[in-house]
Amino acid sequence: MAEIRLHRLAHSYSRQPASAADYALHELEHVWEQGGAYALLGPSGCGKSTLLNIISGLLSPSQGEVQFDGQPVNALSPQQRNIAQVFQFPVVYDTMSVFDNLAFPLRNQGLDERRVKARVEEIAEVLDLGPVLKKKARNLSADEKQKVSMGRGLVRDDVSAILFDEPLTVIDPHLKWKLRRKLKQIHEQFNITMIYVTHDQLEASTFADKIAVMHGGRIVQFGTPRELFERPRHTFVGYFIGSPGMNLIEVRAEADGVSFGGLHLPLPDGLRERLAEQAGERLQVGIRPEFVQVWDRPIDDAFEAQVLDVEDLGTYRILTLELAGVTLKARMGEDRPLPEGRAWVSLPAQWLMLYVDDLLLEAAP
């Protein structure tokens, strides 16, 4: 069990990286606290597996330090770091039985057979592998194999951390949900640091207390699922998280706010002062479709918009609107009256985020 600190860490797969583009992982500073359940979320190729392999020691970083409880572990192998890792595709030892597979990491550690048995049976119970313990691992279905893979990660109770690299990719959906709950339970029971890599926001937010969102080799935001939803610190977090993602509208700065297509959006004083100090080029406002308010009739300060499309998803609808030349998505409950042709839209200032060159601009405190 350990706190994992990444200090000035960067990695490039080329031996002599010439430019920033050669880096799979840009210099970063990050701390995973002992006992946390974390997710590392991002699209394919954003560097999340690279980061995971660096933490476990399968990959040696080109720069910077990995520290466990303040001790640098760069020179240590995965064995010495005492890390468990579960991979995307099931890895089982074909010729061994399920029991021997689960016992393998323990036996390699030299644990006595009685404790091995107790521990393996405990994990098999948690993962519902009891009935197949005596079977040869190669005769299992893909689901079961992946459970065995996960079991081998979970069976050691003295590990510094358990890393999961998209472990549920091959598992079918209903079992996915069940296994995620299991992992969560195991986490609560044993208080082991867990880092879970995924590209699925739902998976990340149901598993983790805190999510690190990665984009282009950087961690662009680290926060609770709620923080990521309500205050994305980067436009990428805005549109990657949420379904559909955040509406992002290019705007121009004006005397007391911002504007687009002739519509004026006032800004609170604090934010306006900060904006005046900024030299950034690209100015965007972002608002979640959930926070866009839509009426079927004119109301106070609402803007008039065209309804382009309505998608009915059963429990809610997604409206595609055109507002002053900009396409906007809005999410509407089934109980609200559906506007036809024209709609009136308001964008509550509370949920309006301002981004300068993709980074959130926050009001001076």
Partner: protein
């Protein structure tokens, strides 16, 4: 739907049937034909039943050759398979050295059998051969033409030199096909080098090893050219294996009947042993 019962589709099998008949069944039946008759010429033929088989199976010269043959093939497999695996494990996996190694490994495979025999025959001579002369200088008595053990060792080393590459290349390709993630998982699980070999590499090599064992068994069981070129089966009968005994019988003494009977027995032994290997290796760890 109205089903018309007719079996005309069977005619489609005819081309394959003819091909197999003329390539395998008819030649084989000729041998069967000779094995149950005493044939002097086209009009002088006598049916002898199983007589030739009885004679062949009781022939002590053949018993000796069969025993030698099994020991020889056993030695070949016991040396070439582990050695091939070991070489494959140590071959570099990437970079220019990998290509260089592959080429070096492939060279022996390109040399014809009788050339291999000739190479070793000269190589081992005490007067002009590098190996023979060196051993003689070192005071080691080595004479493949006179000493049965030396002849045996030479024939064995020759085969190992010639064919271990095949096993190594097959294993090399098998090893390359193992995804990296298995090795990563093994490191995470703190597996020792031996455990990685025993539980990851060896099981994944099983299908290529099956091919390697079968090929090396069949080839070595039919060995003819190398000992023939080296010593002509000598000294005495020390390196006279089954093929050579058969050739002597059929071509040397023109005993076509016993030779035919013996050919069929020979064929059945190879078939049986290959089947045993196959069954043993494919069913080894099924529940």
């Amino acid at each position: 739907m109205n089903k018309v019962p007719n079996n005309k589709a069977w005619w489609l099998v005819l081309p394959v049937f003819l091909l197999v008949a003329f390539s395998a069944v008819v030649p084989m039946m000729t041998v069967v034909n000779y094995s149950v008759q005493d044939i002097f010429d086209a009009s002088n033929r006598y049916f002898v039943g199983a007589d030739w088989y009885r004679q062949v199976l009781r022939d002590p010269a053949l018993h000796d050759a069969l025993l030698r043959q099994f020991i020889y093939s056993g030695c070949v497999l016991l040396i070439e398979i582990p050695l091939g695996i070991a070489i494959a494990l140590t071959m570099p996996t990437k970079g220019r050295m990998a290509s260089v190694c592959l080429i070096i490994m492939a060279i022996p495979l390109l040399i014809p059998w009788n050339v291999v025999g000739t190479i070793w025959q000269i190589f081992g001579r005490a007067d002009i051969g590098l190996l023979g002369a060196t051993l003689a200088k070192l005071g080691v008595s080595y004479n493949y033409a006179g000493d049965p053990l030396d002849a045996w060792v030479t024939v064995l080393v020759m085969d190992v030199w010639h064919w271990t590459s095949l096993v190594a290349l097959l294993c090399y390709s098998g090893l390359r096909a193992i995804p990296d993630v298995y090795y990563q998982a093994a490191r995470i699980d703190r597996a020792s080098g031996w455990a990685v070999f025993r539980h990851i590499q060896l099981p994944k090599l099983k299908s290529v090893l099956l091919i390697a064992v079968m090929l090396r068994f069949m080839d070595s069981f039919m060995i003819y050219t190398e000992p023939f070129v080296l010593t002509g089966g000598g000294p005495g009968n020390a390196t006279t294996f089954l093929s050579q005994t058969l050739t002597r019988m059929a071509v040397g003494q023109f005993d076509l009947g016993p030779a035919a009977a013996f050919s069929l027995v020979y064929f059945l032994i190879i078939l049986l042993v290959s089947w045993l290997f196959y069954t043993a290796m494919t069913h080894a760890d099924k529940e």
